[in-house]
């Protein structure tokens, strides 16, 4: 019985786990007295009593406790399932966003959003008008500054640009008009003088402008400028210019063609 193999076999016998061959071997061991029959019977009785022990039954509270614990675990899990924001996660998202395609997509979406927001929350018309006025005034100031800078440039092209810019100024102040007359009377380039005449046409509603234009007639040597001024006087129906025109007519240096034209203008004005 001290033999471990016999002990294993005895246990299997008690539990009914022996197959036929093993059972025969076991019987031989019992018959030969290697396993004592008396001890076998007491072991069998003990094991049977042990095997018949009923399973202890828990109270109903055990399952209730378990359900309560499970519900708590559920709640805890729901809390853990919420997204966790970490710096690492933020960096990963940024890296994903930094691909050129996604940047372009983001900008388009952002631009569309901005447009929608602009359309939805466009400021009142009054505010809009005020803003436009402010912008227009600022633009005017810029142009005036540009004009005063360009008109003093040595290159005729720049001065020509300045004169043209003056035509875009909504309200030319005295400085601009003086600068234009300076160009008309002093500028060495005929084209600049002609452009100055064109620019001054816009301001002929002012008597002082017309007066200075008339005075300018005798100071001109270029037939082109003389003709332009004569035409302007004719258009403005400026009878006060007739003495100046006559003086030009009497000047020997005046071009023949110009004389004819001036005569024609004088005839119309008179």
């Amino acid at each position: 019985m001290n033999d471990e193999r016999h002990q294993e076999m005895l246990l299997d016998y008690l539990q009914g786990n022996l197959d036929e061959a093993q059972l025969q071997e076991f019987q031989t061991l019992v018959e030969s007295g290697q396993i004592r029959e008396e001890e076998l019977q007491t072991l069998q009785a003990t094991y049977a009593a042990f095997d018949q022990l009923p399973a202890p039954e828990p109270g109903p509270g055990m399952e209730a406790k378990f359900r309560h614990m499970l519900a708590a675990a559920h709640k805890e899990q729901a809390g853990l399932d919420k997204p966790q924001y970490t710096w690492g996660g933020l960096w990963e998202h940024l890296q994903a966003l930094l691909s050129p395609l996604k940047v372009a997509y983001t900008l388009i979406v952002f631009g569309l959003g901005f447009l929608v927001a602009w359309l939805a929350f466009v400021p009142g018309q009054q505010q809009y008008d005020t803003d436009v006025q402010v912008l227009a005034a600022e633009l005017g100031q810029v142009k005036q500054m540009l004009f005063t800078t360009l008109i003093e440039q040595p290159a005729a092209v720049d001065r020509l640009k300045a004169v043209n810019i003056s035509r875009e100024l909504p309200e030319a102040d005295e400085k601009v008009i003086d600068a234009l007359f300076h160009s008309l009377n002093q500028d060495p380039n005929v084209n600049v003088r002609l452009a100055a005449i064109e620019a001054l046409k816009k301001h002929t509603a002012k008597p002082e402008v017309r007066e200075q234009l008339i005075l300018s007639i005798n100071g001109q040597e270029s037939p082109m400028v003389q003709l332009a001024l004569a035409d302007l006087m004719q258009t403005l129906q400026e009878k006060n210019a007739v003495p100046q025109l006559r003086q030009l007519l009497q000047d020997k240096n005046t071009n023949e063609m110009v004389r004819d034209r001036i005569q024609e203008s004088i005839n119309i004005l008179i």
Partner: protein, 188 residues
């Protein structure tokens, strides 16, 4: 519908389907309770220990690999829970003397044969309580349905043959105590 295996259920619990633990509780809650009750002889404590085991199942579910038997893993946790409990009570100086439990008086209203059987069962319970904890635990594990010697061997980190020998020796000790108790009860 085919019943899901313990392994399949536990893997579902692992993948956050916590409700599946309810089925495993139904399958093994009673066994665990019986295991603990026969060791502690305390109903409330046994229920608490079962609760502890399932709490650990949830806590350590991520460590479950599913390559072994679920019941082996479960009883591995159960034995740890028991060891922790015994350590705690020993530290706190709480007596777990099972002999102080009162013997239940025989109910004279039941027939003689049934009464004798009942007395035998009570003697067996008492005999079990006289065994050292390791032998008692071994016997209780071997009695559990679904637990094979191979599983116990895995729990005890030894061979199957070794487990069988140890269980047989525990049965032998149980027999000695049982016989003594029987003789004592006849003499009374």
């Amino acid at each position: 519908m085919e019943l899901l295996t313990d392994n399949a259920l536990m893997l579902q619990v692992k993948s956050s389907e916590l409700d599946r633990l309810g089925l495993l509780f139904k399958r093994y809650g009673r066994s665990l309770y019986g295991f603990y009750f026969r060791i502690t002889r305390d109903e409330a404590l046994s229920e608490d220990l079962v609760q502890d085991v399932f709490e650990r199942v949830l806590k350590y579910r991520h460590t479950y690999r599913g390559d072994g038997k679920f019941i082996t893993w479960l009883f591995h946790l159960a034995r740890n829970v028991l060891a922790d409990h015994l350590k705690k009570t020993k530290k706190a100086g709480i007596s777990t003397d099972i002999d102080k439990k009162q013997d239940v008086l025989p109910d004279l209203s039941v027939p003689e044969e049934a009464r004798q059987k009942e007395e035998q069962l009570q003697l067996m319970e008492k005999a079990l309580d006289h065994l050292p904890l390791d032998k008692k635990e071994l016997l209780l594990l071997s009695k559990l349905q679904g637990v094979k010697y191979k599983d116990i061997a895995e729990l005890h980190h030894c061979t199957e043959a070794n487990v069988k020998v140890r269980v047989f020796r525990a049965v032998q000790d149980l027999k000695e105590v049982f016989m003594k108790l029987q003789a004592k009860s006849i003499n009374i």
